[in-house]
């Protein structure tokens, strides 16, 4: 028996999933250990191993693949605990990081935060100005050298920075992605002078136009570089010492995983690898279960993460914002808003209305019902007041909830707006459901998708609880709570459902009509580069899959559209593909062909294909099991109704709501007007009625 293991370190818990050869899934959870997250990692493995009656060493000895999603990089940035970084820029552009394009004060903030001027400020600098050095060199927008690199400038700058205690060096020159020679030479000089320095060049980390976004990506890569190199080595060493026969792999935000070598070079790509792994898992499950178009909705304690997978394929975006710093980063498009079980409900005295969030009680003190000192009612408290959650069934009974305290908190809010306690609780739920549905709408409708064509995968601690609510706002007909009780550890499963992936891209400036052969040559070069990278990382024997894509736009436009380009050959096919995709997204009259059509970048995502876990389908016809009843206040009925509590959902006959499904780590209210059944893989499939 061999095992594949996926792990995901979250803010509160570290999750682990083991899948064996037969497709049997075992899960384990342990508290995250912020002092050294490696401890939590091995704790979760130990818990999961014990579920199978194994010791940790026994498990690891028989493990064929282990993948790790980590927030170490993100935490280092948020807590400002990264390396001492020095930066080399083109002369005249050394203030790019502090100018922040003039938008840093409000970048990435919620609208209510950014509209209050006295509260707004720029983030603390990642690199103080004295550690940014300008060197003489210049390339222009055609990639032609205007001023040669003055190597003595580089030497002097590197020496000064090293003397100043710099541990990592970011090299980011203008237009380096068109001609990287100057960055490469500067890197070589730095390595000659300081062989132990962590060095990253912007043309490798983020080869895209836009010097601020590219520089931020390179600087953040350096900021977390030394730390991540130590972390991945420590995890791997410890696992190997316990008998693990293969190297640990690390999940990436572009989807799939990377080797230790790759992650040590480009740790930037581990940012958000946890949430992205959840998306990857959804794509994997969606393909397995033939669910077609999928929206993933991951609702936790503080945030709601959404991703859209047309045809089950995760979409990408090319930029992200961390702590108000915007950067180029190619990643699976998962977007977050501050809405979760811990979101606080409050009365806006000026309108007399109830608002939910963006403040959150988070894990500490947590909702009122946790009894840890929280006093303001949260979404979880509202769920409890309505009876969606039972007092003794939360987290499989490991966390007792104080229903009286929750009720008192909601009652206090209700009395201020003249509502009954349950009405107010239902209102809190409806408001948070609306906020979440609007986020989903923006991510679908804005991109030319009709949410009614999609299945929603609901996961995370609170996702299944609210999925029907926000799905109704969107007209979605089917909600899937994936694979029953592992819904809450989906990200961990996702880490082992991807392949080893590397991506390369190149900025170009081609104007239609395009030369198909020329594009083909460029793609071939990119594929060669990607393939050699995977071969160098030890995957020469694996079969590989290349996915090509291009970015195109009307020549006069600023934004481009990313299009898959695998089967395109002739130059005109690129034009046709763009015109039709554009019209589908923005309407038939939005395009304006006389402006010309431009192709701005080519991209190859190369995967070394690995064996995926084969999830076991059950052929037995399970029956529904009811454990009792509970009074639940259903907004549809506006009163308490005796409601069956189900510990298992049958595969044959759908159970009509109202009902509550309580699995060890997941509670799912089956609301009136909906029905649920389990499929052969254990997924709960909720069908919404039409017309709501």
């Amino acid at each position: 028996m061999t095992f594949q293991i996926g792990t995901d370190i979250g803010g509160t818990f570290t999750d682990c999933v083991i899948v064996d050869d037969a497709g049997v899934v075992t899960t384990g959870k342990a508290p995250t250990t912020p002092h050294d997250r490696a401890d939590g990692f091995f704790d979760a493995l130990t818990v999961a191993a014990a579920e199978r009656g194994l010791g940790l060493a026994d498990l690891l000895r028989d493990t064929s693949r282990i993948v790790h999603a980590t927030t170490t990089a993100t935490n280092a940035i948020v807590e400002r605990k990264g390396a001492v970084v020095g930066v080399l820029t083109t002369a005249g552009h050394g203030e790019v990081l502090s100018i922040m394009r003039g938008g840093g004060r409000t970048k990435g903030l919620s609208v209510d935060d950014l509209l209050y001027l006295p509260g707004s400020r720029k983030p603390d600098p990642l690199v103080p100005p004295r550690r940014v050095r300008e060197v003489t060199e210049r390339v222009d927008c055609f990639g032609e050298v205007v001023v040669e690199l003055v190597e003595d400038d580089v030497r002097a700058a590197v020496r000064a920075l090293v003397d100043d205690g710099v541990e990592a060096l970011a090299i980011s020159f203008l237009w380096s992605f068109l001609d990287p020679a100057h960055e490469r030479r500067a890197r070589d000089i730095a390595r000659e002078l300081a062989p132990d320095l962590f060095v990253a060049c912007s043309h490798e980390i983020a080869p895209r136009q836009g010097e601020y976004y590219r520089t931020v990506a390179t600087v953040i890569n350096c900021y977390i570089g030394p730390l991540m190199a130590r972390y991945v080595a420590a995890i791997d060493d410890r696992a190997r010492a316990l008998g693990l026969p293969v190297p640990v792999q690390f999940a990436q935000c572009i989807g799939g995983s990377a080797t230790i070598a790759d992650v040590s070079r480009r740790p930037l790509y581990t940012i958000d690898s946890g949430p992205v792994s959840g998306i990857v898992a959804s794509g994997f499950l969606g393909e397995r279960f033939s669910h077609g178009h999928i929206i993933t909705a991951d609702m936790g304690g503080t945030t709601f993460d959404v991703s859209v997978l047309p045809g089950g394929v995760p979409q990408r975006r090319e930029q992200t914002v961390m702590d108000q710093y915007a950067m180029h980063l190619s990643m699976v498009d998962v977007q977050s808003i501050g809405a979760g079980g811990g979101s606080i409900a409050w009365v806006d005295e000026r309108s007399g209305s109830i608002k939910v969030g963006p403040r959150s009680a988070a894990a500490d003190p947590g909702p009122v019902c946790y009894g840890r000192g929280g006093s303001e009612p949260t979404v979880t408290d509202a769920d409890l007041v309505l009876g969606f959650i039972g007092t003794d069934s939360f987290l499989g009974g490991r966390q007792h909830l104080d229903a009286d305290a929750a009720r008192a908190a909601v009652a206090s809010l209700a009395s201020r707006v003249g509502l009954g306690v349950e009405e107010a609780a239902a209102g809190i739920v409806d408001i948070v459901d609306t906020i979440m549905s609007e986020k989903i709408r923006r991510m679908t409708v804005d991109r030319g998708h009709d949410p009614r064509d999609f299945v929603i995968y609901a996961f995370g601690g609170a996702g299944p609880m609210h999925a029907v609510g926000f799905s109704r706002h969107l007209g979605v007909r089917t909600v899937v709570v994936p694979v029953g009780n592992i819904a809450s550890v989906l990200s961990a499963l996702g880490t082992v459902s991807g392949d080893i992936v590397t991506a390369v891209d190149r900025s170009v400036r081609l104007i239609a009509p395009f030369d198909g052969a020329d594009i083909e040559r460029t793609f071939a070069e990119l594929e060669q580069e990607a393939r050699s990278r995977l071969v160098a990382d030890g995957f020469g024997d694996a079969s590989m899959r290349s996915e090509r894509s291009v970015s195109m736009k009307y020549a006069a436009q600023a934004f481009d559209v990313e299009l898959p380009a695998d089967e395109l050959a002739d130059g005109d096919e690129y034009v046709d593909r763009f015109v039709s995709a554009y019209a589908a997204r923005y309407g038939p009259s939005a395009g304006y062909a006389p402006a010309g059509i431009a192709l701005t970048s080519l991209r190859v995502k190369m995967s070394a294909l690995l064996d995926k876990p084969a999830l076991a389908a059950s052929s037995s016809r399970a029956a529904t099991e009811q454990r009792g009843t509970r009074k639940v206040w259903w907004p549809e009925h506006r009163e308490f109704v005796d409601t069956p509590i189900l510990s298992r959902v049958g595969t044959v006959t759908p159970v009509a709501g109202p009902a509550i499904v309580e699995l060890p780590d997941t509670t799912v209210p089956i609301r009136p007007g909906t029905s649920v059944r389990a499929d052969a893989f254990g997924n709960l499939v909720i069908t919404l009625e039409e017309g709501l």
Partner: protein, 790 residues
């Protein structure tokens, strides 16, 4: 032809002439006059429970955001996409603009007049139908400048107009004498871009060919203009669908009641905030020069606000006549003021403009810089920005007595004047182009009442904006950036103003390129400080032609700051307005713009912050000692020497004062008091409300008299205070401009300052109503005793 008429009031003979054709448009106070049998959806509000209210308002916000996102995605303009020089709006059936995205805010109040004008003037002919979309940029009605093109249409429910959906976006060229449409030599609207006045752009058949042809005919780059218009049209179409969906779920009356309530809630909150501070009258005057090519006159814009209870009345009396193309229309003057009102009083209401406007009235003299008559030109936009900044300054004075409201007080901020750098010619691909760099959005944010302003913090009226990347601009236009840096031009003060941006570029890969300075005179900066904080420098443009930079490049030299660039050829500081300056491959354009004003007397700044400023190379140790009175020694503060230096500065000010002032009695230690400035309090003395120095407690004057007449005056020059930031105003004007400090005659702290003309009497900037001050202080004392506070 100002004729002394007051816009918004009937003429002396009782006529209402504000029609938008011969005179500025103002809706008739008795209601809109709508013809053609057109009906508006105006139900009696229905009760909406707090949950439904929140759900619908969240959806409306997102619908409007989606409108904005559609425009950004379809648009090709880096000005729209990156700088976000646009906005979207939902307005009620009668045009009250209650929901605006977080982009340029001064389109909000303008949207109202666009819609109202259209209702009053297009309902009969050509009629207003459910599929119609109009285009409009006429400053006599509401346009800011002609480049900002409004596109808007109604949404019908049945045969009634339910609401209006609106966007305005900056177009790169809409005609006029200059490519890019900033017409630096225009002296009237006939040399400015030709306005478009509420033309029907789309009807039930789609885009109207006749209108589109006419509109595109105005532009030098019609294809790009066409694409931009499609972005705005696509936005309206998308938004109509979404609002219809919302109505289908919740019902028209419920959705409308939510709209009404959003406005009413804002109105009430603003009213309560206004009512919480003393009543009075506040005035600001701003000087500027360089209204057109060769202009050396100084132009005054005056703004006064009177606050009684929960209502504000603004006027522009005393403003100079319209001049050049630096003006704005009445509607945009009002819209600029609305920006400050929303930012300071309605931040919790997402800047709901319609709500704040209900608590404000506006009276303006016709034919002035900030209320043009039919002939006035507006394309360079200076007065629009001043409307925002000056109103912000007035409101910052009003809120002083309330500690929470006072946090929103700021000195002049962000883009406070015209500072445009248009360039045009043939690009590196051989195509004609015309554009304006919008790097200036990375401007300094003004000093707050409790902390420093923010370098490159952006504009108050433009919450989300971003300058283009240099690489984006170099791809689009034939330039090579030599540098882009913080300008170090924020105003000195107890709290420093944020610095703006400086940049220089060299023409590159095109020999056919020219540029223009669309600036105001740099020696007379508009970025005013507050309560003794100095001005920031708003404008500095510099040109070097025929440089040897290319030879330096080949020698491995890169001039990358102002001094190095100045050494590459014969450079010169530009006058406010210049045009057709060469920008070939050996020519450089340089600008440094929008340093924000400081707040409070610099000698009251925390000395350790001064030492940090010196360490950060914001200014040197000599300026630290001269301006801040801080002796920085070996990186640290020499405390004793600093104390001596500060005392010496105060004494020196009083010694050199042209008028010594009159020292008043000292306040009793337990006198009830509240701040009305950074160095001034209102207090009860001998049973009467007076103003007094916050530092030494010497009384200055009764609250309803101008304390400056008894203060000491010191006339000086900004460029003498800090020659690293300011230039001599004599470069720009022959008038004797002076920077006057008003000092406490006893202790020598700066109470306030003015950029003025030597010999002019002091501005009576704050006149408080005595009864109101007395009641306010009594109320505070009562509240303090009831809470047990000292």
């Amino acid at each position: 032809m100002s004729q002394g008429l007051i816009i918004g009031e009937p003429t002396p003979s009782g006529e209402w002439i504000w029609d938008g054709r011969n005179y500025p448009y103002v809706p008739h106070p008795d209601g809109l006059r709508i013809g053609g049998g057109l009906r508006l959806h105006q139900p009696e509000p229905v009760p909406v429970d707090p949950i439904t209210f929140e759900v619908i308002s969240a959806k409306l916000w997102n619908i409007n955001e989606e409108h904005a996102e559609t425009i950004r995605r379809v648009s090709g303009s880096p000005i729209v996409v990156h700088a976000n020089d646009f906005n979207t709006c939902i307005a009620t059936e009668s045009g009250e603009s209650f929901m605006f995205a977080a982009y340029i805010q001064y389109f909000a109040a303008a949207a109202e007049y666009f819609v109202k004008y259209t209702l009053e003037n297009r309902s009969d002919s050509p009629g207003i139908g459910p599929e119609d979309i109009f285009i409009h940029n006429d400053p006599l009605v509401a346009g800011s400048h002609q480049q900002d093109v409004g596109v808007f249409g109604p949404l019908f429910v049945g045969d009634e107009i339910f609401c209006w959906l609106f966007s305005a976006a900056h177009q790169r060229d809409v005609g006029g004498t200059e490519p890019g449409s900033f017409c630096v030599d225009a002296k009237d609207i006939y040399a400015d871009p030709t306005p478009i006045t509420a033309l029907k752009l789309v009807d039930e058949r789609g885009i109207r060919r006749d209108t589109e042809d006419q509109v595109l005919r105005l532009s030098r780059i019609p294809n790009l203009f066409a694409l931009e218009l499609r972005a705005q049209i696509a936005g309206i179409h998308r938004t109509r669908e979404r609002v219809r969906e919302l109505i289908s779920v919740y019902g028209a009356d419920t959705v409308k009641s939510v709209m009404y309530k959003l406005i009413e809630d804002t109105e009430r909150a603003v009213g309560e905030r206004l009512a919480s501070v003393p009543d009075g009258r506040w005035t600001d005057v701003n000087l500027s020069a360089g209204a057109f090519l060769g202009d050396r006159d100084v132009h005054r814009m005056t703004m006064t606000v009177e606050k009684i209870g929960d209502t504000l009345v603004f006027d522009n009396f005393g403003t100079d006549p319209q001049v050049g193309s630096i003006n704005c229309g009445f509607a945009q003057w009002r819209a600029g003021i609305a920006c400050s009102l929303t930012q300071m009083f309605a931040y919790e209401h997402r800047y709901c403009t319609a709500g704040v406007l209900r608590r404000a009235r506006f009276r303006a003299e016709l034919g002035t810089m900030c209320s043009i008559d039919r002939d006035g030109a507006v394309s360079t936009l200076h007065a629009q920005f001043l409307s925002v900044s000056m109103s912000g300054k007035l409101l910052s004075r009003i809120v002083q007595p309330d500690p929470e409201l006072a946090k929103t007080a700021m000195s002049f901020s962000g883009i406070s004047t015209a500072g445009h750098l248009p360039h045009y010619g043939t690009d590196q691909y051989g195509n004609p182009f015309a554009t304006v760099t919008l790097d200036e959005v990375a401007c300094g944010l003004g000093a707050f009442s409790f902390r420093d302003g923010i370098d490159q913090g952006g504009c108050t009226f433009w919450p989300i904006s971003e300058a283009n990347e240099c690489e984006d601009w170099e791809t689009s236009f034939p330039v090579l950036y030599l540098y882009r840096r913080s300008a170090r031009n924020g105003g000195h003060g107890r709290y420093r103003g944020g610095s703006g941006l400086s940049l220089a570029f060299l023409g590159h890969r095109s020999d056919d390129q020219l540029w223009a300075a669309g600036n105001m005179a740099g020696g007379i900066p508009t970025s005013s400080g507050l309560f003794g904080g100095h001005h920031g420098n708003s404008c500095f443009f510099y040109s070097v032609q025929g440089t040897d930079i290319r030879e330096r490049f080949s020698r491995g030299e890169m001039p990358a700051d102002h001094d190095a660039i100045a050494a590459t050829g014969d450079g010169r500081v530009l006058l406010a307005k210049e045009k057709d300056l060469p920008l070939g491959q050996h020519d450089v354009a340089e600008m440094a713009v929008y340093g924000a004003g400081g707040y409070g007397d610099p000698v009251r700044r925390d000395p350790h912050l001064v030492a940090q400023d010196v360490a950060d190379q914001r200014y040197d140790a000599a300026l630290a000692a001269a301006i801040y009175g801080v002796v920085v020694d070996d990186g640290g503060v020499d405390v004793d020497a600093t104390e001596e230096q500060r005392a010496a500065i105060r004494a020196s000010r009083l010694r050199h004062a042209q008028r010594p002032g009159q020292i008043g009695a000292i306040l009793a230690a337990d006198a009830p008091q509240a701040p009305v400035g950074d160095g001034i309090v209102a207090a009860i003395h001998d049973g009467r409300p007076v103003l007094a120095c916050a530092d030494c407690h010497a009384t200055l004057a009764p609250v309803d008299e101008n304390y400056k007449t008894s203060a000491a005056w010191l006339d000086t020059q900004l460029h003498e205070i800090d020659p690293t930031i300011f230039t001599d105003p004599a470069l720009d004007t022959d008038e004797p401009v002076a920077y006057r400090l008003y000092l406490c005659p006893r202790c020598g702290i700066v109470l306030d300052s003015e950029l003025t003309i030597a010999g002019e009497p002091p501005l009576f900037d704050t006149m408080l109503l005595p009864d109101s001050v007395t009641a306010f202080l009594a109320g505070r004392a009562a509240a303090a005793s009831s809470t047990g506070a000292p």
